[in-house]
Amino acid sequence: MIEELGTKVRELLESETVECVIGYEVGPTGRVRPAFIHEPDEVGRLVFNTRCDHNLVTYLNRRNKPRKKGEEVPTTGILVKPCDARSLQVLLNENQVQRDKVYIIGVACPGMQNADGTLEARCARCSQRVPLLYDALFGTPPEVSDIADTYTDVEDMEALPREDRLAYWLGELDRCIRCYACRQACPGCFCDVCESERDDSLWIGISDAIPEKAFFHITRAFHLAGRCGECNACEMVCPMGIPLSLLNRKIVKEIEQTMGGYHAGVSEEPTPLITKLTGEEAINEIH
């Protein structure tokens, strides 16, 4: 599969269809990392395996915008797994990526694995093996049966007594160092100026205080409501190991269960938070 993919990438670069292809390579210490292939001769660096869990779509946010006014936006080729394709669909819906400036190299996803060889939690609850969006597709999708996401992780948290939940989140938020890696890795976080980082301290200042960090994480989760494709990039990049997926997936669960089974990034329909009530959502309870 990687040979065919390499041939295709070489072809794309040689024909100058794309200026650059974003894929995966192995770093000097054996870690898989994003690779930017500019020259046809670099194609050999490309790899694809069960450790390629970065969501490369994040890079399109800045590559797809002109650096200077009037500058032509380069066309980028990009490797996209099924979950990444959902992020990409969200970006397309929100005018962040020009479809004709991106060549989508879809890859059939074998399911990403942890260092110890077990399936990543997010992949264990996902049965999507082929991206919804691609220009060319590589790899043979493995047979998987349909898996329904039961949100057991979220429900476990919900089942805890309130005091325990509070203590848990206080501890997690306390560790946050406001490095904003989660935001930077997230394809959905593309604001030029993050409202948690405004220089006029409108909402929060620059301090290490828990409420300020809570504000950032709550609003980030909230801004991703109906837009989060569950790629888990935020959690994976967190240097302090804060379980951000628990926050995001709580909202994913709420949206799915109260707003007509909506899933982000599977269609051009925008997040239900900005659309009118359409009838299928029961507003029976305003608590």
């Binding site: 929100e94 409202e195 900005i274």
Partner: protein, 596 residues
């Protein structure tokens, strides 16, 4: 054109007309009972016989069936004609000795007594067939026909039994010259007695209506009913109104139309509805036809109404005692807590009318007399002087008594407290007028959401400000007039409507609109062009420009701020409700809590 001579008078006539028609057009009287201008001639009653002289030969012919040929000479009142009619009337009078119209005609021709005896003195039908022809030709229900022969010949439905084919339209009763047909009302029948007598299916809603045009009640109209009943198979029943209307103004095809108009201002003047007094059972409304509402009283005393303006009880008598009860449904926590404002004055007027027209004793049960308008108090004093008895206190109960002395309806006992005397009082009266409340129309909520209006607690539409902006609403360009905004009387409504019209005109005349400064604006530095604001904007005021950033059309924006809450990067915010300002307010209220 043909020319014929009638009674020595040379008359021009259309080809195809009958002699009767020509004669009647010329003002020559010929009696006839079985003739109706809208029905085919039938020649059954024979009363219209005339002497027809043609080519020197004279014959007696029925003028309703004889064509008006060129050169005919007609004599309508010659001795042979009179003799023939006398014979016919003698026979008719013998069959129906007690029908006034026949008695009158017979007397005119010198027949004073029926020449032959009859064993059915109550017979009214002269077998003229008008009803049969009406039911066949116009109503197209074909319910009535002749049956049997000779002396047994009679008119009726098949087997003289009740039939579902009869739609109860009553056309037969109207055409019958002798009053031989009567409609018997059954409970729950289609043909219901209306509270103040029936009206026809086509009628002028109010004699003072402008423009004064009739409307067709499609639920009652024979043509529509036959059409509906037969699913369009019989689509041309009746049409009498169309046939008789010389202006050709009747149009059955007319449908409710939806007109789409582009307008610059809208005045909502959807008015009020009368509150239904059935809801307070102590007033016994509906238990006696003599308990009526103020509006029904208006119909009763209207010169164009069923009684021609006479104030009569349901059995047609002049009332001797009338009670008027104020505040029925108003100022009542079981109904509407508000004052309907118009009842005091119309009740006074109605008391005055009753005194004036019938001289009956009038008892007014009132809580407070709210005679606040110009010359109102003076009118109140005048009515007092006219001898109306005012009882201060809410009318508590109306009881319908058993009919006495062969009366059709029993008297009404009104009970209440006289607060001035401090004791209970009661009066037995012939008629009770309930001054019912006015309320917001039942569909006011739909109108409200259509125009984005809010409603005040009483259900009427809320004005923008009770004192400063009484005709404006919170939706720009939409104004309120009259009782749509709240109970008010005619002078107030006229003033209110005038104000609304002026506001609308002022808006239109300016040619430009002043908009609230609360509009959103975009900080392009922060805008990523994600388009969420474009989706949420209820006014489509936001669009993405060529630079990929949002921009606001200030003329369309109403400043709701939905966009500001949807924007993740605070790039769009409504003026006067900016994030800074709202945060400032929030921080300000907690200033005291800051620990240094």
């Amino acid at each position: 054109m043909v020319t014929l001579t009638i009674d020595g008078q040379e008359i021009q006539a259309e080809e195809g007309q009958t002699v009767l028609e020509v004669a009647r057009q010329a003002g020559i009287k010929i009696p006839a009972l079985c003739h109706h201008p809208l029905l085919e001639p039938f020649g059954a009653c024979r009363l219209c016989v005339v002497e027809v002289i043609r080519r020197g030969r004279s014959r007696l012919e029925t003028s309703c069936t004889h064509p008006a040929w060129d050169g005919l000479e007609i004599k309508t009142n010659s001795p042979p004609v009179r003799e023939a009619r006398k014979t016919i009337l003698g026979l008719l009078l013998s069959r129906c000795p007690n029908v006034p119209v026949i008695q009158d005609l017979a007397r005119e021709y010198g027949v004073m007594e029926p020449p032959f005896p009859t064993d059915k003195p109550d017979e009214k039908c002269i077998l003229c067939g008008l009803c049969v022809r009406t039911c066949h030709e116009l109503v197209k229900a074909d319910v009535l026909n002749f049956s049997q022969a000779g002396v047994e010949r009679r008119v009726g439905p098949p087997f003289l039994e009740k039939t579902r084919q009869c739609i109860g339209c009553g056309a037969c009763t109207i055409v019958c010259p002798t009053g031989a047909i009567e409609i018997v009302l059954e409970k729950d029948a289609v043909y219901q007695e209306k509270p103040l007598g029936p009206t026809s299916a086509i009628w002028v809603p109010s004699l003072t209506a402008v423009p004064r045009v009739p409307v067709i009640d499609t639920d009652a109209c024979i043509r529509f009913r036959q059409n509906d009943r037969t699913n369009g198979e019989i689509a041309d029943a009746c049409g009498v109104c169309e046939m008789v209307c010389e202006a050709g103004a009747i149009n059955f095809e007319q449908q409710d139309e939806v007109l789409e108009l582009d307008v610059g201002a809208i005045i909502v003047a959807t008015g009020f509805e009368m509150w239904d007094p059935h809801q307070l059972s102590q007033y016994s409304y509906g238990k006696s036809p003599n308990i009526i509402t103020g509006l029904e009283f208006e119909r009763l005393s209207n010169a164009g109404g069923v009684t021609g303006g006479e104030i009569l009880t349901a059995d047609g008598r002049k009332p001797e005692r009338v009670a008027i009860i104020h505040c029925v449904g108003s100022r009542d926590h079981n109904a509407h807590p508000y004052c309907s404002r118009i009842c005091c004055m119309y009740s006074l007027k109605q008391a005055h009318l009753v005194r004036d027209k019938t001289g009956a004793e009038v008892y007014e049960f009132y809580m407070d007399m709210r005679a606040f308008g110009k010359a109102y108090e003076e009118f109140y004093e005048r009515v007092q002087k006219e001898g109306v008895t005012f009882v201060r206190g809410r009318g508590a109960e109306v009881e319908v008594l058993e009919p006495q002395n062969g009366q059709k309806y029993g008297q009404l006992r009104v009970k209440g407290e006289d607060a001035n005397l401090g004791r209970m009082v009661q009066a037995d009266v012939d008629m009770v007028v309930l001054s019912t409340a006015i309320e917001a129309p039942h569909d006011a909520s739909q109108v409200a959401s259509l125009f984005g209006l809010s409603r005040s607690e009483d259900g009427f539409f809320a004005e923008a400000h009770p004192k400063m902006r009484p005709v404006e609403t919170n939706t720009d360009g939409v104004f309120l007039a009259g009782t749509a905004q709240g109970p008010r009387d005619v002078p107030d409504t006229v003033a209110h409507a005038g104000a609304a019209a002026s506001m609308a005109l002022a808006l239109l005349d300016k040619g430009e609109v002043t908009i609230s400064p609360t509009v959103s604006y975009v900080l392009t530095r922060y805008c990523t062009g994600c388009g969420k604001c474009v989706v949420v904007c209820p006014y489509k005021a936001i669009s993405l420009g060529e630079d990929g950033k949002a921009s606001v059309n200030a003329a369309l924006c109403k400043g709701c701020g939905s966009c500001a809450a949807a924007c993740p990067s605070d790039a769009i915010t409504p003026l006067h409700f900016t994030d800074d300002q709202l945060v400032g307010q929030i921080m300000g209220v907690f200033y005291e809590q800051i620990v240094v």
